[in-house]
Symmetry: C2
Subunit: 509 residues, 2 copies
């Protein structure tokens, strides 16, 4: 490929670029050919990487979907923006149908801020930041929406539990399994094709206008129940999960080609990543791969939060770049603002950093990665060192039921089934020599002492300035489920909610 | 890069190409950037892959060094060429200093055969096919040798155990730790630089002549005790092991550049691979990575035998190719003969196949992979299915001493510490959906029945026609150690051997 090298650092001085964020669901670090997946079935993403920049040390903000997504759109850790629970210690929480909370009005979301720079914002796919009326994405900066507020679990009976609605903008236009089919037996669903067409149409429409766009393509074919459309079923060596990945890879190839065909690829910043590690609990049929990393989704080991990541912006990002910058989905908030010529809010703590120096100039910015589980900082990475202050995979009770977040993996004293506190003497790993977190450093070594001195300062500062937000994921109530979403009347799809009965949500992990 | 597409299948019709085989020692599938190593520190090998063809399903002939190397050079499984033991069931064996056996005269080695086509053959590095006079590489087809007959273990006291000799051609020119320094404390040794210079010199010399060459570059910096030269020490995120890999990567870059500078790259077929999986027992400081595969060296799980592999031949092999051909180091025997315009011997069973249709025409040749441990066929791969007829990592006794071939990994009923027989109902894995061998297929599934029907035929045929060779690795005797190698007189380095006392070798694994 032809490599162009432009003047750097001036990106935002001229017209701000379009922003296209491709956010995968439960896709793991090891799911792409470019990251060593041994079937190597992602030619389009691998090409995107070879034309752009590969991030090898990029992280989710949380090992679970809703908090990670809330963090991405606010630039703030879930413990700040409210996407966590205090119902029990160190518990992952998200936004099931009966969740009462959602994204607080006080939070400033990326699309809200981008509006000030004239952006038109669309979300395609999964919102996951609360489904009650006040949490609707169009109330938080998005101009358009096609997709759903929750995961595509189901089918439900619409009595004990309603099926999940699919929205177009303000109103629902149907429900999963009723109007938007997912065949759990065969794994067939054409949703990715619908999401692809939505993206192509939006890009075409926006290209015709003079306004820049922000497109948040948050598709969910790789979240259980995994699905693919007929054309892709049975095409992967990896089974149904691989079929879903192949369809996504193909779709992303089509989107990038579309940008090129429209002549706007050099004015569109594209970033590909995932919301959390692969759900090994669903593997191998319904879950992906975290490569050589330890455990998966729900855990604060590398497999739970290290993500595949690719930046693509022809003419600006040098082709074939590889970055070891420690990155986080929260950085996409700050980086997007920077590209739009905007400053991040100064009235609150923002955890995301501007990655442009790393992306455009190959700089390495020193910054830590915090690994939270609910209200607890479980671990921190500083440079190549990672210190675990708490370890936990899941409880013996859950584990004995077959719930295993680390199938085939067992590191004594590390993948613990009780919450183990190490705050006085953290477990320390060197992720260069030991990316799999298998060999804790000796507590009495000089290396341990030196590394922990440095890390302790980072952690002290982090804790001293931490002001947790109001926890949004504590209360559940069947009355708030998707019984009668706006637009249900027109479709005759309004259901009668039960009486309100708010309770503490139960979070086992 | 410019992609040239030549007429295929005619390679051997014109002047035969030079053959350059880069054989790594204990390097694992996951050690290169191109295979997903998260430090991505192998730019030269990654470029070699992007200019050549990446093999994702390439195997060692054995999970241990000597047998795999003997198989490579004979094109025959160790159980045929004698590189195995019958002292106990399913035991790995190799050529320590007190081994009495070695490569039998009756075996035809690749360099012996290549001579018929006018090749000049050199081995640089580790021989490992026996160190007694009759096993000398120059008695088995090589014209030149720089390197050692055994591993670079030491330092020894030259009383109970002699230090390993380093040969130039027929005679030793010194010993490890005495004349060829390896600093076990710092990991410093400049051996890779010496091996590099030997390669460059040989290539230059041969280029000046009119004869084609076969260079077998069998270096050992990644075998414990791992080493690197001063310039590379401390340069890798991965520690000393990574330093060794970086130096090798740099050296291979220099060798390929040398071929290009001399204008012979389009007439030199280069293949890169390793002799067995990474030695996880030595990880993380002295051992590499098998990526997401199960266990390591010494085992017949994927981590023990799946290897990184790259074919490079500018102008002949299309750039950027990826092959899922099931390959084996034994294929390098047959493929090399094919390139030289020679037929493999017809008077014996040859296990290696000619890979040229896969390399030059992208064909997929149906062939099984057999996983042996000593005298037992432990497993077989047919297509994407792998059936384990026996499972064993190592004994409880060894394991309780801390010898762990699967650190951090534990798959119930699979990574067993007793030899478990599954011959009536093999454990079956689908390596596409489950490359990590974590989820055995249900015995009662249709898929199991269908796959095993196909596999059983392959195994029956294999066993029915198997004629084991005379085992070479049964007898050990301290008298045969490297006490007085040829040339020791000139150096004053002859040592007095003890009285002969042949015994059965003890093979714990």
């Amino acid at each position: 490929p032809l490599c162009l090298c432009w003047a750097l650092g001036l990106a935002a001085a001229s017209a701000p670029p379009n922003l296209l964020l491709l956010l995968m669901d439960d896709m793991g670090w090891g799911d792409l050919g470019a990251f060593g997946e041994p079937s190597k079935e992602t030619p389009n993403l691998d090409q995107m990487a070879s034309e752009g920049m590969l991030f090898l040390d990029f992280y989710a903000a949380n090992p679970l979907c809703s908090p990670s997504r809330a963090a991405l759109l606010t630039g703030r850790l879930p413990v700040r923006n409210g996407f966590y629970t205090t119902n029990a210690h160190a518990r992952n929480a998200y936004t099931p149908q009966d969740i009462v909370g959602g994204i607080p009005d006080s939070e400033l979301l990326l699309p809200e801020l981008l509006k000030k720079a004239g952006y038109v914002n669309k979300i395609i796919g999964k919102w996951h930041l609360g489904h009650r009326p006040q949490f609707h994405p169009l109330k938080h900066g998005f101009d358009e929406w096609f997709g759903s507020p929750n995961c595509h679990f189901g089918p439900f009976d619409n009595r004990a539990l309603p099926n999940i609605p699919v929205y177009r903008d303000w109103e629902m236009i149907g429900r999963y399994y009723e109007d938007f089919k997912i065949d759990l037996k065969t794994g067939e669903a054409n949703l990715t094709q619908i999401y692809l067409q939505e993206a192509l149409d939006f890009i075409s429409k926006q290209q015709a206008s003079q306004q820049p766009f922000f497109l948040y393509w948050a598709i969910d074919a790789t979240h259980a129940p995994v699905y693919a459309s007929k054309h892709f079923l049975g095409t992967s060596q990896r089974g149904l999960y691989g079929d879903a990945v192949r369809e996504i890879d193909d779709s992303i190839g089509k989107i990038l080609q579309h940008l090129q065909k429209l002549g706007i690829s050099e004015n569109t910043f594209v970033f590909f990543t995932s919301d959390n590690g692969a759900a090994l609990i669903s593997a191998p049929k319904q879950g992906g791969s975290n490569g050589r990393f330890l455990c998966g989704k729900q855990t604060t080991f590398e497999g739970g939060m290290r993500e595949p990541a690719i930046a693509w912006w022809p003419g600006h990002i040098p082709a074939g770049g590889v970055s070891h910058q420690l990155g986080n989905v929260m950085d996409l908030f700050t980086t997007s603002l920077s590209l739009a010529g905007l400053q991040p809010p100064s009235d609150r703590q923002i955890d995301g950093i501007d990655l442009l120096p790393a992306i455009l100039q190959g700089k390495l910015i020193d910054r830590p990665i915090f690994y939270y589980r609910g209200n607890e900082m479980m671990a921190v990475r500083v440079g190549l060192y990672k210190a675990h202050y708490w370890t936990w995979s899941n409880s013996w009770e859950e584990y004995s039921k077959g719930i295993d977040f680390c199938p085939g993996q067992n590191v004594s004293g590390v993948t613990t089934h009780t919450q183990e506190e190490h705050t006085t003497l953290p477990l320390l790993f060197h992720l260069g020599r030991d990316p799999g977190e298998k060999y804790p450093l000796s507590f009495v070594s000089d290396e341990y002492q030196r590394a922990m001195e440095q890390i302790s300062v980072v952690v002290q500062q982090h804790k001293a300035t931490m002001v947790p937000g109001e926890p949004q994921l504590n209360v559940c109530d069947k009355a708030v489920m998707n019984w009668s979403p706006p637009g249900c009347e027109k479709l005759g799809k309004c259901l009668k909610p039960p009486k309100s009965d708010p309770k503490k949500c139960f979070w086992p992990h």
